[in-house]
Amino acid sequence: MNSIPRLVLVLTLITAGAGLVLSLVESVTREPIAEQRRQEMLRALQAVLPPADNSPDEDTVELVVGQDKRGRDVMRKFFRGRKDGQLSGLAFKVVAPDGYSGNIDVMVGIDPSGTVVGIEILSHNETPGLGDKIAFPEYKKTFAGKNLDNADWRVKKDGGEFDQITGATISPRAVVGAVRKGLEFYRDNKAEVIADSQGGTQ
């Protein structure tokens, strides 16, 4: 009964059946999942961009921000918000690699001059009750209106002017540092980012 061919046959049939069912489910859920992810992206963009009447997730520019460990280019996407055809603001994602536990993904929204309109924490693993306060509205608000010229981009403990959180200095320090680097990158590459053509690197 338990000959090898039978074992192989049964196991093959079971895995083939599983594969069939899974491919069906995947084809049904593919669209809704893509839509959910897009909606989430749009919500984050809306939260950080000045009022816009276009679809910022379709009006983008990608630039090289640096190389990763293996020498491959790391790209950064700039989402451009427009009002009546005029550029009203830009949004881009920065990653703070030095959070308390893992990366912190931050969406930064600025006006074309480089002043922060708002930030949104996309994902983080900071300690609940301490570091995770970086995702609270009261904390995110402290970035609005700041730019590289009118603010010292360090937390207060390091001599700057950004609030740290009681019991958690590392998370705000990471966020402030990442946003600052993002703003500096924008300042240095502004011409390419706001250029109308889909120029830069593709």
Binding site: V10, A18, T29, P32
Partner: protein, 197 residues
């Protein structure tokens, strides 16, 4: 009648988390709020019932020598289905439960029931077993999540319970709080049973 008794038994006397101590990894990890506990419990129940159905109906076809890989393929398929559907239709819950959904595959409760019960019983008892165990698991996670949320954030299912002045007991939301709450609940159940005798 015995079916109802079976369900009752798997909710209290053989509760997966508090009595069999199976599936503790998700029970401790995701129960930072009642809602997370409920979502995880229901997802696990779904996988448990479905895998019990398939394993029980295929019990005469699957040779004993390859039963464990077969069970795992069945369980992993249902977990993937849950994950895809959850991401498509309950996106917020999906974000909250995150990596713990794929980990349902290695929840020993599910493989344990497939191996110990579904592969040896007819379809109906296997379904009842899955439902009962699932309810027991869901209740346990819900209670654990509710206790931790209540003391750790001062809310229950997102609604504030103690008002503004409450200082949340942060420890309860952090991993140690899971062990402490779990231990206290276990002790409470044992005390209750001891009193009854």
């Amino acid at each position: 009648m015995s079916l109802v008794n079976n369900i009752k038994k798997s909710i209290w006397a053989e509760n997966a988390v508090f009595r069999l101590l199976l599936g503790l990894c998700p029970a401790l990890a995701v129960t930072t709020s009642a809602e997370n506990g409920l979502g995880m419990g229901l997802a696990t129940t779904f996988v448990l019932v479905c895998s019990n159905i398939v394993v029980s109906s295929l019990r005469k076809v699957i040779p004993p020598k390859v039963r464990i890989p077969s069970f795992i393929v069945v369980i992993a398929s249902f977990v993937t289905i849950v994950q895809l559907c959850m991401e498509a239709y309950f996106y917020d819950l999906h974000k909250a439960l995150g990596i713990f959904i794929p980990l349902i595959v290695v929840n020993c409760l599910i493989l344990g029931r497939a191996e110990a019960f579904a592969s040896k019983n007819k379809l109906l008892p296997a379904v009842v077993d899955g439902v009962g165990m699932g309810i027991g698991f869901t209740l346990a996670l819900f209670v654990l999540g509710a206790v931790r949320e209540l003391f750790g954030s001062g809310t229950l299912l997102g609604y504030s319970v103690f008002g503004e002045g409450f200082q949340p007991l942060l420890l309860m939301i952090l991993p140690p709080g899971a062990f402490i709450a779990m231990g206290l609940l276990l002790a409470g159940m044992n005390l209750f049973d001891a009193r009854k005798k």
